[in-house]
């Protein structure tokens, strides 16, 4: 049975959703529309003149092999960030859920890193892994490993992935922990009586029951990896070495704010918007079907 409230007339419901509509309009539809409009032009930085180029900006971007390569970089980066931030979070949440004593302290400590801004997290990791002053780099040197993320593309990618995922583990932990508390004890006890061991219970009962949370976190983390990791990349690698860590959103920044190429930057925002929209639709269409609510 669904519960629905029905209104008589249009005025009240409109009034009630108006704040949300206004917010969406001002902060999403207006700027997004502006970006679409700007992507059709090559303006000069000062806004003194504009050249209409139609889809020229898109053509220019999509014919550039380096831009196309940054799609792959973004895919690799966001997949890794999502995995690295979700799997340990789930693992830690499962462990925390089994704690009897000290669960509060453990939980608090795990949530802390979430309070650290991405750019600051970037600097923290940079200090640890810096080739000159980094303590981890120094220890690696003692072990005979020549750590050099300034030139080694895989190391650079690894570093930005870890730095971006670190704070997110806390966020994901929080959701998993809450979801675990909601798993009915009776089901688990019944399975235990039937002789199912912990990991078997986990994979056949707990994990499926967590699937709505996992699905939600998947969407949120991919969006995070796409848009909010910019600060980490900016502070650690600036997109290098070569183009190893130039993800799409970093290129939007570099071309728009550093390069003053607003037409290309706007076109890239539009492409990014489409990509994320498409990803979200795909997720809802295909993955959600397998989610047990």
């Amino acid at each position: 049975m669904e519960k629905r409230v029905t209104f008589k007339g249009w005025l009240l419901p409109l009034l009630l959703i108006a704040p949300q509509l206004v917010i969406s309009g001002v902060f999403f539809f207006y700027p997004a529309g502006e970006a679409v409009w700007q992507s059709l032009f090559i303006p000069d930085p000062f806004g003194l003149s504009m050249q209409y180029v139609g889809l020229g900006n898109f053509e220019y971007l999509l014919s550039d092999p380096y831009y196309r390569a940054s799609f792959l970089t973004t895919a690799v980066f966001s997949t890794l960030v999502t995995l690295v931030s979700m799997i340990p979070a789930l693992f830690l949440a499962v462990l925390a859920d089994r704690l009897v004593k000290g669960a509060g302290a453990y939980r608090t400590m795990l949530i802390w890193p979430y309070a650290v801004a991405p750019a600051v997290a970037g600097v923290l990791w940079l200090f640890m892994f810096n080739t000159r002053i980094g303590i981890v780099a120094w220890y690696l040197g003692l072990l005979g490993y020549d750590w050099n993320y300034v030139l080694n593309q895989n190391e650079a990618m690894g570093l930005v992935v870890v730095a971006s995922s670190w704070g997110r583990i806390s966020y994901n932990f929080l959701f998993y922990f809450a979801a675990l508390q909601a798993v009915p004890k009776s089901v688990i006890e019944a399975a235990a009586i039937d002789g199912a061991r912990f990991w078997r219970r986990f994979f056949t009962i707990v994990l499926p029951l967590l699937s709505p949370t996992t699905f939600f976190l998947l969407v949120v983390n991919i969006v995070y990896a796409f848009f909010e990791t910019f600060g980490v990349i900016h502070t650690i690698t600036s997109g290098g070495p070569q183009q190893a860590t130039t993800i799409l959103v970093y290129k939007v920044y570099a071309d728009g704010f550093v390069g003053q190429d607003l037409g290309s930057s706007a076109a890239q925002s539009v492409i990014l918007l489409l990509v994320v929209g498409l990803l979200t639709v795909l997720q809802f269409k295909f993955i959600e079907k397998r989610v047990h609510y």
């Binding site: 002053i133 030139l151 070569q242 071309d255 550093v258 003053q260």
Partner: protein, 437 residues
């Protein structure tokens, strides 16, 4: 509490109002200097403000060079631009193309009736910021040029003779071998690889970096830094990188910290690195001219500058421009310039400031500080060594950074990397041409 704050506000504004009524004109000046350099700029401004009562220059730090340029552009779009905006040399073409957004310095000076002669400036400094008719569009502020910094203690340790030749790249090779053999981790590193190892390399050997006099002759310029001289140089550095003799530290001046800490023996970096190295280095250091390839005819020519200049923004009241002219004239006076040069290691941008510094005995007391000046001024600049004026230059430099990294890591040959950089860079030049048609 609220009332108290309100009261304080009223009281303070009452105190301030008599001064405001004095009709002093505020001149907004946005710059990109923080730390020690920021203090020195503030001191210059304070000195100017104290020297007269008609104008008050208000200096504001707006972030690094890119951020300051962005702040200026955003402010212009909103109609709230400052009177004076500091723009780094890479942004020169952007500012120059924005005809309606700037007021050329020569015009500001002429309108205000303040005497101004572009020929007072050192040729290579002047050339960077003048139009094709030799008229100065922005006022050079801080200019530096790359030199070779040497850690003498490490060279001694490696058994390199005190008088060993460090003037050519041919002679640097054996020195690096010795340093490596002696167990020096970082025989050589560089800051600002595009600026030093390509832009300055080209000028120093009198070969073009881009066509049309490096872009001075028009927006339809094309990159040409994949010539034999540049390829040979980059390939040599790449070979040294493979041998562990040239150590890449990053795109900006990350290597500076390594040099100052005493772990790198040779370091190509701006002459403006002087203040930091002098303050921090706990070893004997020397300044040498940038090395050159002796088999290239005409080398060494002259090196080019990096740094920033001051642009006057359009659309301000006439009264402001008079103050701006006074302030710019104050900044370029020999005394102010000589002090700036001696405090920072930036070049003295006028001949008078260089002469004054020499008379004051600064070069004698601080050997090596005149290396950059000599390197810039012994020869008259040519079309290849006047400077570089390219649109989207910041992004072109990023492309060069990316491609050079491929050489240092051994993924590409120098020829391959430079060819690719030229092709990719040319696309950006075409876009800039289109945007400013």
């Amino acid at each position: 509490m609220k009332n108290f704050a309100l009261g304080a506000l009223v009281a303070s504004s009452a105190l301030l109002s008599p001064f405001a009524a004095f009709a002093q004109t505020d001149i907004q000046f946005w710059h990109a200097f923080t730390g020690r350099l920021g203090e020195l700029v503030d001191a210059q401004v304070a000195q100017f403000n104290a020297s007269q009562s008609d104008y008050k220059v208000v200096a504001n730090y707006k972030g690094n060079y890119s951020e300051t340029l962005n702040a200026g552009i955003a402010a212009f779009r909103a109609g709230e631009q400052p009177d004076i905006l500091m723009v780094f040399e890479v942004g020169t073409a952007t500012m120059m193309a924005a005809k309606g957004a700037i007021k050329p310095v020569y015009q500001v000076m002429a309108d205000a009736g303040v005497p101004f002669n572009a020929d007072d400036y050192i040729g290579a400094v002047k050339g960077y910021y003048t139009d094709t008719d030799g008229k100065m569009l922005s006022l050079p502020f801080n200019s530096s040029t790359p030199v070779l910094w040497v850690n003498r203690d490490l060279l001694d340790k490696a058994g390199v003779a005190k008088d060993a030749d460090l003037s050519t790249w041919e002679s640097i090779g054996p020195v690096l071998d010795k340093l490596k053999a002696a167990g020096v981790d970082c025989p050589m590193t560089t800051a600002w690889q595009s600026w030093i190892q390509l832009e300055n390399l080209s000028a120093y050997h009198n070969v073009p970096f881009a066509s049309k006099e490096n872009g001075f002759g028009g927006l339809d310029t094309e990159l040409e830094f994949n010539g034999p001289v540049q390829v040979k140089h980059i390939q040599t550095l790449g070979d040294w990188a493979k041998k562990g003799e040239f150590i890449y530290k990053g795109r900006r001046n990350e290597g500076g910290a390594d040099f100052r800490a005493g772990s790198c023996a040779l370091f190509t970096e701006s002459s403006a690195g002087y203040a930091g190295i002098k303050a921090e280095a706990k070893f004997n250091f020397e300044v040498h001219p940038l090395p050159y390839w002796s088999d290239v005819a005409g080398a060494p020519q002259n090196t080019i500058i990096g740094g920033a200049s001051l642009w006057v923004m359009a659309g301000k009241p006439a009264e402001d421009y008079k103050g701006v002219a006074e302030f710019l004239s104050f900044l370029s006076s020999p005394e102010v310039q000589a002090k700036w040069h001696q405090d920072t290691g930036y070049l003295p941008i006028t001949k008078a400031a260089a002469d004054l510094t020499r008379e004051q005995g600064f070069y004698k007391a601080n050997p090596g500080t005149d290396v950059a000046v000599i390197q810039m001024t012994t020869k008259e600049p040519t079309g290849n060594s006047k400077g570089i004026r390219l649109g989207n230059f910041d992004q072109i430099r990023s492309i060069i950074d990316e491609e050079l990294e491929a050489v240092w890591s051994g993924d590409k040959t120098a020829q391959d990397a430079l060819d690719t950089a030229v092709t990719r860079g040319n696309q950006l030049l075409r876009r800039f041409e289109q945007a400013n048609r």
